[in-house]
């Protein structure tokens, strides 16, 4: 969701006038009214869980699916905005005039010991991990 927020030009965020319940989840009534807008497909929960390595019980899937659907619908209101004359913002948050690059000078991190100390299992100076032969597991 955070990523989606970064896509929104700041002004248009202010024009949304949906009443949101205290918990932050849009009310069912409000969500229904936007269903007619150009539909953004909600994610396939099972597929998403597999990709993100999350395990949900079938009960949780049943519970979360409609809630996620409503959140997607709430964001889908953005589809109604006519952006034909708006240049795509590649990334909101570009810092005007301030150099955001780092010079190529080495700097050894001072507390390597603490980081390596936090590694669950070491084998010599290697990090020990379970053997997974399949490359690029998504």
């Amino acid at each position: 969701m955070a990523a989606l927020l970064h896509h929104l030009p700041y002004q248009s965020m202010l024009t949304t006038s949906l009443r949101i319940s205290v918990a932050g989840i849009p009310t069912k009534r409000a969500a229904m009214s936007t269903c007619m807008a150009s539909k953004v497909e909600p994610p396939n929960i099972a597929h998403l869980c597999e990709k993100a390595r999350l395990s949900l019980t079938p009960q949780e899937v049943e519970e979360f699916e409609p809630q996620i659907g409503r959140i997607v619908d709430w964001f889908a209101q953005l589809q109604e905005i006519d952006v034909a004359d708006v240049a795509p913002a590649i990334h909101v948050g570009d810092v005007n005039g301030i150099n955001t690059l780092r010079s190529d000078k080495p700097n050894v991190f001072p507390n390597r010991k603490a980081m390596m100390g936090a590694v669950p299992e070491l084998e010599g100076s290697f990090i020990k991990v379970p053997k997974i032969l399949k490359e690029n597991q998504e």
């Binding site: 948050g93 810092v95 700097n107 100076s125 290697f126 053997k131 032969l133």
Partner: protein
């Protein structure tokens, strides 16, 4: 723009960007070379199956170039090869919570340099994205890469095929160039078998090292073209000084996609990815094997057995073997990297970088060709930018081009190879070599003596003149002196003289040898022969 002659390349219906640009630059070339620029002729290499049907291979290459920067892409950890495992790590490259990436300005500089060298369009604004997947060598669970707005696109690369394989010029399109970070190194204890150890080891020194990914258009048609494309890319990154492009070390990695189709059919065949090639020759052999495998299957009506998959090149058995099936396209759930601002370049920055580029390999080859050198010589001299620079300095002193080329490619190269040194590591200066060549030219010493004293120049950095004086090796060209030597030899060898005058003219060589022995090889050979013949034949 030169319009010396009507160029066939421009007349073709879809002029390739290479054709237009290179045509403007090289219109002086013969029409034979010109026809090679035609895209059509580039795909003239087809594979003929046993039943006579012609197939065409379609090859595309994805290359990852590890940049030789001092630090990693997004943190200040030293980027060094061969250090103790996990010595160069920090919260950013280890993917620890709260750490934020900051882009290394050298990565941008190197990216722009390569993009310009590949004649591509530079995106003045580009962004980073997260490529998400899980694997033990990927600490963050995603790789910071560039997905839909890369730093460069739509370029091309000029390649000259080696003379011993038929020669020829090729121009291959480059789809895109983008910046990304490398993953760590995964070591499987107990080999790749499922039995054996159940654990692996991870070294994160490499995690976060900057990479440039170069994707080619699928325009190569043979293993040779693919290998030469890769070699030229290596030459380019070395010329630019952005990477050592070493395939064996892993600082340049090529993944190849191969498919075949009956000649003339527009649709592509099933694409197969090949990995694990550690050298250009391995690439060539792997691709040729794979083309053969696919054509054989297609031709036997078993084309459906060609699966879209990744195959590994097995160097031992010289074949590709199936690794696993590529189940459709991967879903990396790309989204823009929220922790990094867009990469903004000014046109001034790009122009300034362009002005700083060295003479690139292709331009150098064309210049050497115009000096009158053979293609064979051109390819050798222009291969290494240090050798080319040395050569340029020598001829810059007015030395004969062919002589300079021969000395550098012959004796100098042999000595360097023997001593395992680079041309920049010897004490011989271009000026010294120029002097040596000139001294031979004006007759002060013979070519043979020149070869003898060269090691001295290489090892001790003395000048040719110093070496000649020290050893008293200057060529004897005084006719009177030579005459007296010849007279002495003739007096000492009456039998051979009689034999020669009796018809055994081959004995001339014997007399030459004797004079050379006595004089320590210093007599001017041409003069010697003249004087000798006149004395023997009187």
């Amino acid at each position: 723009m030169q319009t010396v002659m009507m160029c066939q390349a421009l007349e073709s219906p879809n002029p390739h960007p290479c054709n237009l640009l290179t045509c403007a630059l090289y219109c002086d070339l013969s029409s034979a070379s010109h026809s090679l620029f035609l895209k059509e002729s580039q795909s003239s290499s087809s594979v003929v199956a046993d039943n006579g049907l012609e197939y065409e291979a379609v090859i595309g290459i994805e290359t990852h170039v590890q940049l030789g920067t001092a630090t990693k892409a997004f943190c200040s950890c030293p980027s060094q090869y061969g250090a103790e495992p996990n010595a160069h790590v920090c919260p950013v490259c280890m993917g620890l919570p709260g750490a934020l990436p900051v882009l290394n300005d050298k990565v941008v500089e190197y990216g722009v340099k390569l993009a310009l060298a590949l004649h591509s369009e530079i995106a003045l604004t580009s962004k980073f994205d997260r490529k998400q997947y899980f694997y033990p060598d990927l600490p963050k669970g995603y790789q910071i890469s560039q997905y839909d707005v890369p730093i460069a696109s739509k370029g091309f690369i000029d390649v000259d095929l080696p003379v011993e394989f038929g020669g020829g010029h090729r121009c291959f399109g480059i789809t895109r160039v983008h910046m990304e970070e490398d993953a760590g190194k995964l070591v499987h204890a107990g080999g790749e078998r499922l039995s054996g150890s159940s654990s692996s080891q991870v070294d994160l020194n490499r995690a976060g090292v900057p990479l440039l990914e170069v994707v080619s258009e699928p325009e190569m048609r043979t293993g040779l073209e693919a290998a030469e494309y890769a070699a030229e890319l290596q030459r380019l990154v070395r010329y630019l000084g952005i990477s050592n492009g070493n395939m064996q070390e892993g600082s340049m990695r090529c993944d190849v996609n191969v498919s075949v189709r009956p000649k003339g059919r527009p649709q592509f065949g099933t694409k197969v990815e090949i990995k694990n090639m550690n050298s250009f020759s391995a690439m060539q052999r792997a691709i040729d094997f794979e083309i053969d495998r696919q054509v054989t299957l297609e031709n036997e009506g078993l084309g459906h057995q060609i699966k879209q998959e990744t195959r590994l090149w097995e160097e031992g058995s010289q074949r590709t073997i199936s690794m696993r099936s590529k189940e459709g396209l991967a879903d990396y759930r790309y989204f823009p990297e929220p922790d990094l601002p867009e990469v903004t370049l000014t046109q001034d920055y790009v122009d300034a970088t362009q002005a700083m580029l060295p003479e690139l390999p292709n331009a150098k080859r064309r210049r050497y060709e115009s000096l009158g050198l053979s293609m064979q010589d051109v390819l050798v001299l222009a291969n290494d930018s240090d050798v080319a620079a040395f050569f340029d300095e020598v001829i810059g002193k007015g030395t004969d081009v062919k002589q300079a080329a021969n000395w550098i490619m012959g004796d100098l190269s042999a000595w360097l190879k023997n001593e395992k040194l680079a041309i920049t590591e010897t004490k011989l200066t271009p000026a010294a070599l120029a002097e040596l060549i000139d001294l031979i030219k004006d007759g002060t010493i013979s070519g043979k003596i020149g070869k003898e004293i060269l090691p001295e120049l290489l090892q001790n950095g003395v000048s040719a003149r110093e070496a000649i004086e020290a050893k008293g090796l200057s060529q004897i060209s005084d006719a009177a002196v030579i005459e007296s030597m010849v007279d002495a030899i003739i007096a000492e060898n009456p039998k051979q003289v009689a034999a020669y005058r009796g018809g055994k003219t081959k004995l001339q060589g014997f007399f030459v040898g004797q004079v050379m022995k006595v004089s320590g090889g210093r007599v001017n050979p041409a003069l010697l022969n003249k004087i000798l013949l006149s004395k023997l034949n009187c």
